[in-house]
Every structure is written in structure tokens, then in C-alpha cells.
């Protein structure tokens, strides 16, 4: 953390003590969310999500592959995330950072636990199945990558069209049907900053945060959770956040479905 960040962090914490956020939002207010789908044509599915000035792009590729040994009648889904160096002066070139890997795994867990992708629909024939790759590209960072990435991955999957498969070959140019999606998972991330809980933290707020909590739900069940950073949450704070995530799911789902 640079010297200037120390000053900004101290300021954000001081603001918290007077119940204010740096951009004037209430603690339970999220920034505006914008979803754009189908922006890439070579990818089988794509979506860009803006939350404030955080911008995340997700691309989906379908490759012909094999089922896993223990699920011979299903395809596979693999999730990865890149914190691109062009997204922030603090992101570095080189192999995926622990933060990028955590991001991909958390998004993956929510979508997997929510049984969002119909895995059986990815089966093609004996020994052949679709391998679905979801790659999350962080283009500009200003906090809350988890929610932005969850929405981007979900929207890109909903946007995905499956190529034609004939005589053991993939015809990429011909996309014949939508990927079968059975459930929609969205997440809500909260941060603990100076013992106050706030929704949808900015980059500055994440810098100032002691702890971060992401809760992914499908509206009925909590599907995945991840606590990050060195601090902690009380059990009540976690239950409150779960309630907020469950309550907010409907609006987010509607937004995602509208732009598919």
C-alpha cells in the first residue's frame, strides 16, 4: 500500500465513523449496474458488466472434449479469472495472482453449487462432451470484482450458443441452440470497514476494509460464501448479509434475464 493509499484509507475510515461513504452512498446502496451481452462473436457467449467504474468482461468457449471419469454422461465447466494489468496500476504482469485464483474459484463455486449449467446437456456421445470455459477478464478495477464477475459469468453463460456437432466434428460457424441454464445465481459482497458493514465496496473501501464477505444465492438457498481479508464478521453480520443477498437476488436475476 502506497503512502497516498494510507491517507485515503484513514479518511474512508474516519468517514465511516460519521456514517458516510466517500461517494455519498448509504451503507446498503449498490452502485448502478450495467450489463451488455453478445459483444464478442468468436466466443460462444460473452457479457460485459459495469458496476460503477469496475468493468469485467466474461467470455465463454465450448471445446470438444471428454467427460470426467466419475461423470461419464456430463460435460465440464472450468472458470478462470485474469486481473489484467491494464485494469489497475496495482495489478501486475505475470502468472495469475492468488487474488485472481480466489475470484475465479468463488464465482465457480456459486454457479456450480447452484447447478446453473445443465451438465447432462453438455454430453454428446460416448466419450465426447462439451468442455465449457468461462474466462473472466477484469478490465477496470474499482472494487467488488466478485459481484461483477458473478453477474458477468452468469450473463455470458446465458448468452452462450452451442455450436453444431456432426460426425464427431464441431462446426464452429454454426451455433444451433442456447446453452441449457437451469438456475441463476447472483452474489452480494459486503465489506467490514471500521466495524461498519457496507454493500458493494469501492476499490478505496476494499483497501480500507478489514474483511470482505461474498454471498452467492439463487434466491432460495445460499449457494456459496467466501470471507476474505484478515478481519472477521460476527455471526449476526453474516446472517444479515445472507438476507440482503437473498433479497437482492430477484432484482439482479431480472437484470440478467433482461439482457440475455
Amino acid at each position: 500500500m502506497g503512502a497516498i493509499d494510507i491517507v485515503k484509507t484513514a479518511y474512508i475510515k474516519q468517514l465511516m465513523s460519521t456514517n458516510l461513504r466517500e461517494d455519498g452512498r448509504g451503507f446498503n446502496d449498490s452502485r448502478d449496474i450495467k450489463i451488455t451481452t453478445g459483444i464478442l462473436q468468436n466466443a460462444e457467449g460473452s457479457a460485459q458488466v459495469d458496476i460503477g467504474s469496475t468493468r469485467v468482461l466474461a467470455g465463454v468457449k465450448l471445446d470438444l472434449g471428454e467427460p470426467m471419469e466419475d461423470t461419464p454422461n456430463e460435460g465440464t465447466v472450468a472458470m478462470s479469472a485474469d486481473l489484467l494489468p491494464l485494469a489497475s496500476a496495482d495489478f501486475e504482469m505475470g502468472p495469475p495472482s492468488p487474488e485472481a485464483i480466489e475470484l475465479a474459484r468463488v464465482v465457480d463455486r456459486g454457479i456450480r453449487a447452484g447447478k446453473c449449467v445443465d451438465m447432462a446437456s453438455l454430453f454428446l456421445e460416448e466419450g465426447k462432451a462439451w468442455n465449457v470455459f468461462v474466462d473472466i477478464y477484469v478490465l477496470n478495477y474499482d472494487g467488488n470484482l466478485f459481484d461483477a464477475s458473478e453477474i458477468a459469468a452468469m450473463s455470458a453463460l446465458l448468452n452462450t450458443k452451442v455450436p453444431e456437432y456432426v460426425d464427431g466434428k464441431v462446426v464452429r460457424e454454426k451455433r444451433i441452440k442456447a446453452l441449457k441454464i437451469d438456475n441463476i445465481v447472483t452474489s452480494v459482497t459486503v465489506a467490514n470497514v471500521a466495524d461498519k458493514i457496507l454493500i458493494d465496496p469501492t476499490g478505496g473501501e476494499e483497501e480500507a476494509a478489514d474483511a470482505r464477505l461474498t454471498i452467492a444465492t439463487d434466491g432460495k438457498y445460499v449457494r456459496a460464501m467466501q470471507k476474505g481479508l484478515g478481519g472477521s464478521f460476527t455471526q449476526k453480520e453474516i446472517l444479515d448479509a445472507a438476507e440482503a443477498a437473498l433479497n437482492r437476488h430477484g432484482a439482479l436475476k431480472q437484470m440478467i434475464e433482461k439482457t440475455r
Binding site: 503512502a3 494510507i6 491517507v7 485515503k8 479518511y11 458516510l20
Partner: protein
């Protein structure tokens, strides 16, 4: 709209020393994107990093201390130092916000600062240094307007760092960021005035 000049545009068939231009094979070319200045040869750039000038005011944050020599983070690649002497001892702490004057620039990469003064409390925000003149405004009109409208104390460093304390800091910050965003759009003073006065 005035004619826009792009990097590499020929400004003169003869060698002329003018701001943001360069001379090659006896001809003068632009090295930035911008407008021609009143001389007709120099260019006023749209964007630009900060190049320190002696006697300029800067704002930064103390980032290290050793033997009465303080390093200051000015949010730029320049190494910036406050050097205490036998009779001049400072007692800054890490994370202190300081305002100081550029005394000297050594090897083009190290800035020596003088007259450092700690700014107590408040916060700093950084904007593009090229927008600082617009933030200050002619005869300080713009910055005074924000300061009065928000009841905030504001101090501006030419390096792009702005210190804000007291009053409605969130509103002052929003106004400053808006100036950074809209520096080139006409009628800005009026819009900022409306913004800070309507609350």
C-alpha cells in the same frame, strides 16, 4: 472548435523552440495532442503528466524517514526529498500530508523540496496534473468557488494532489473530479457553481 494538433504534425518548416514541440532535421513538429497556443507554434496539450518546475507548490504524503531526510510520495515517478539540516529539524510522521515548494530537480529524477508544512487532518485526492490550472481557475475563481460552496479548506499541488479538509468533503471531491472530467467543456464554472450552491 479550434484546429486540433496531433503528435508528429508539422508546425514549421524552420526550427522554432516552442512548448510541446520538437525539432528534427531543421523542422518543427508537435509532440502532443492539443491546440496551438497564441504564438501559433507552441501547443497547449489536452493531457499530460507533471513535470516539476522550481518554486512550484506540491502536495504529497511522507513515505519514509531516515536521518532527518524524508521521502515524499507525490504520486509521480519522481523521487522527492525533504532534507533536514543541522539547524532545520522536522518531525513528520509516516502518512503525514505535506505541502512544500520545489527547490531543485537533480538528474531529472530527484526533487528536492523546501518549506515543508504538514497539513493536519482531511484527505488527499489526485487528479490529472494537466487539469490543475483549470481547477484553480483564473485568479483562483474556480477553487475559491468550491471552497466557499462546500465550506472546505482546499489546497492544490501542481503535481495533481489536492488536500481537502472540513465542510462537505464529498461534495468538494465530486466537484473537483467533475472539473477533471469536464475541463475542456465550456460553461464549467457555471455548472460547478450550481453544483456546490444548490445543496
Amino acid at each position: 472548435m479550434q484546429e486540433v494538433i496531433y503528435p508528429g504534425d508539422l508546425l514549421s518548416e524552420t526550427p522554432i523552440r516552442a512548448p510541446n514541440s520538437y525539432i528534427e532535421n531543421g523542422k518543427t513538429y508537435s509532440m502532443v495532442l492539443g491546440f496551438k497556443d497564441s504564438s501559433g507554434t507552441g501547443i497547449i496539450p489536452f493531457e499530460g503528466g507533471w513535470t516539476p518546475k522550481v518554486e512550484e507548490t506540491v502536495i504529497g504524503v511522507i513515505s519514509s524517514e531516515r536521518n532527518n531526510v524524508y521521502e515524499v510520495d507525490l504520486g509521480s515517478h519522481y523521487r522527492s526529498l525533504i532534507i533536514g539540516g543541522k539547524y532545520e529539524r522536522f518531525s513528520f510522521r509516516l502518512g503525514d500530508i505535506v505541502e512544500a515548494t520545489v527547490k531543485d530537480i537533480e538528474d531529472g529524477r530527484t526533487i528536492i523540496l523546501s518549506y515543508p508544512k504538514a497539513l493536519q487532518g482531511g484527505t488527499v485526492i489526485s487528479i490529472k496534473p494537466s487539469k490543475i490550472p483549470r481547477l484553480i481557475g483564473k485568479n483562483n475563481t474556480m477553487i475559491n468557488q468550491i471552497s466557499q460552496g462546500t465550506s472546505s479548506k482546499i489546497s492544490v499541488g501542481m503535481n495533481g494532489m489536492v488536500w481537502i479538509k472540513d465542510g462537505n468533503i464529498a461534495l468538494a471531491t465530486a466537484a473537483i473530479l467533475r472539473i477533471e472530467e469536464e475541463a475542456h467543456v465550456s460553461g464549467l464554472t457555471g455548472r460547478i457553481k450550481e453544483m456546490v450552491e444548490k445543496r
